[in-house]
């Protein structure tokens, strides 16, 4: 490697800077894992006990308490679906405008872009449960807090995907509208909107799917939905009822995933 000729003859895929960057990433990964393994606190007695506990839980979960479905789980499930749907609609209402403001071509003011991007990152960084804690403190426990929590959390995701869609849109039709003297609002409605419509619907569907899953846990902090029933069943150690709720969530999530797949295939 010392002489220049051998170096020229040898084919190396990456530049030294690239190799250094890759090495740094690998080193970082190994260091992180090594540190975590070395310092994490695990109580070995609990671990030895785990198989027994799992078997015990399995035994308590069987037979599943099917009779409880209609009086208790069904209303909670409907509430969960309402929360998810309302949160998606609200999230779209708030996320799409912010997405437009964050797109560099639709809003040619860099400072507006930066503020909008910060809003997107910040709303996404606060988890649904944290939002739910805040809204429960504001509006009291119940599905309203849950719907608002998921809606605010989804602003970031919707806005990010949407602004990327807007930035990828074709300039030609926008310039044609500008040449015809269209105002900014007309450009958005007639120029950008038809182009980003497919993105809009796919983001809406995708987020709805995620929101149904998220709304299942809101009940843990009292924000309505099937999580309330789950939390109550766990607190009362009614494991057969817990099993029923888990099965319900599983079936609903699978059904929604199939529905989303079918709609996507037909419409988009």
């Amino acid at each position: 490697m010392t002489s220049a000729t051998t170096e020229l003859n040898q084919w190396i895929r990456f530049t030294p800077a690239q190799r250094l960057a890759r090495f740094a990433v690998y080193l970082g990964m190994v260091a992180a894992v090594a540190w975590a393994l070395k310092t994490i606190q695990i109580i070995p007695e609990f671990l030895y006990d785990a198989p027994e506990q799992v078997l015990d839980m399995g035994a308590r979960m069987w037979p599943i308490d099917w009779a409880n479905f209609w009086p208790n789980v069904w209303p909670a499930l409907v509430e969960t679906l309402h929360i998810a749907a309302m949160a998606t609609i609200l999230g779209l209402c708030m996320g799409v405008p912010v997405g437009f403001l964050a797109a560099r071509n639709a809003t040619p003011f860099p400072w507006v872009n930066h503020i909008a991007r910060f809003v997107l990152v910040a709303t996404r960084s606060i988890s649904t449960l944290l939002w739910a804690l805040f809204f429960v403190a504001m509006f009291g426990p119940g599905p309203l807090a849950g719907a608002l929590a998921i809606a605010f959390h989804s602003i970031g995701f919707i806005g990010k995907m949407f602004s990327e869609g807007v930035e990828e849109s074709n300039k030609g039709s926008i310039e044609a509208l500008q040449a015809a003297g269209a105002t900014r609002m007309q450009q958005i409605v007639m120029g950008y909107w038809p182009q980003v419509k497919p993105t809009f619907w796919s983001v809406a569907l995708f987020r709805w799917d995620i929101n149904v899953r998220e709304s299942a846990i809101l009940g843990l902090v009292g924000a309505g939905g099937i999580g309330v029933a789950l939390n109550a069943a766990i607190d009362l150690l009614q494991w057969d009822r817990v099993a029923l709720i888990l099965v319900t969530i599983f079936v609903v999530v699978i059904l929604i995933e199939i529905a989303v797949m079918q709609i996507r295939k037909r419409v988009i």
Binding site: W35, A36, A50, A137, I217, I249
Partner: protein, 264 residues
């Protein structure tokens, strides 16, 4: 919108929505009103809520970063995220190879797919509840819960990536008489490596977010500290923890973007 349509005299018909679109929007509006009523949404409630919110936000200032629970909690969240990403990825790699339909026969792909779907269905917090029952309170339950989520996520994406690879390179390597393992190492891995690193970076980022909330059900990390601070009305500490979590998550996102750029 309406004045746009009327100002364009004849060509306005182009942009007029079809009857089905209008019906769809009308149904949507009816649903929103109905759902808003069932959620108990009303103007006076919002007004009252905003009042509470202002009081509540006032309790946040000044944020308190000085309590001794903050740093250990954050570090435990990081440990959970790293270990769950490691274990999840290690389990997901063989599982995704088994569930790729271009490499394996159907009787192997189906069981592997079902495992991946099962891991993906439940939110990490729900898995954490079960894990807490199994291995008790603490970081171990968090690691298990997020490992399950990682297996589902990386497994699904990696299986899709493997199914999209070019068949030609695999056939070329098979033609040289390579064994199955050699086909995987020299035919499949080079084609999916960069995307795989992207998935793992994204997964670690997502684990970091979730590791800050699994503590709510007792599965370790900063979430437990946050939840108990909330229940004690210790709002300035809540604000401190929240800001620390947001900073951590944003840092994770920056690192994720950097890693993706390195391996583009």
């Amino acid at each position: 919108m309406t004045n746009v349509e009327t100002s364009m005299v004849t060509r306005a018909d182009f942009f007029r929505p079809s009857i089905w679109t209008r019906l769809g929007y009308a149904l949507l509006i009816v649903y929103v009103i109905y759902a808003a009523a069932t959620l108990g949404l009303s103007w006076e409630r919002i007004e009252r809520g905003v009042g509470y919110g202002a009081k509540f936000l006032a309790g946040f200032f000044p944020p308190n970063f000085t309590k001794s629970d903050l740093i250990p909690g954050l570090l435990e969240s990081l440990q959970i995220a790293f270990l769950a990403s490691l274990f999840g990825t290690l389990i997901a790699i063989p599982l995704s190879v088994l569930s790729a339909r271009n490499l394996m026969p159907a009787f192997i792909t189906w069981p592997a797919r079902i495992i991946i779907i099962l891991c993906r269905t439940f939110h990490p917090v729900i898995v954490a509840i079960i894990a807490v029952k199994a291995v008790g309170f603490g970081a171990m339950a968090g690691v298990i819960a997020l490992t399950v989520a990682s297996v589902g996520f990386v497994g699904k994406l990696l299986a899709e990536a493997i199914e999209e690879i070019s068949k030609k390179q695999i056939e070329a390597i098979r033609a040289t008489g390579a064994s199955f393992m050699n086909t995987i190492i020299f035919g499949v891995v080079p084609q999916v490596m960069n995307r795989f690193i992207g998935f793992v970076a994204y997964e670690t980022d997502s684990n970091l977010r979730h590791s800050t909330i699994v503590g709510v059900v007792g599965a370790g990390g900063i979430g437990g500290t946050l939840f108990s601070a909330f229940q004690r009305y210790d709002y300035d500490f809540v604000a401190g923890i929240s800001i620390a979590i947001i900073a951590l998550v944003m840092l994770g996102e920056v690192i994720q973007i950097y890693v993706k750029r390195v391996f583009r």
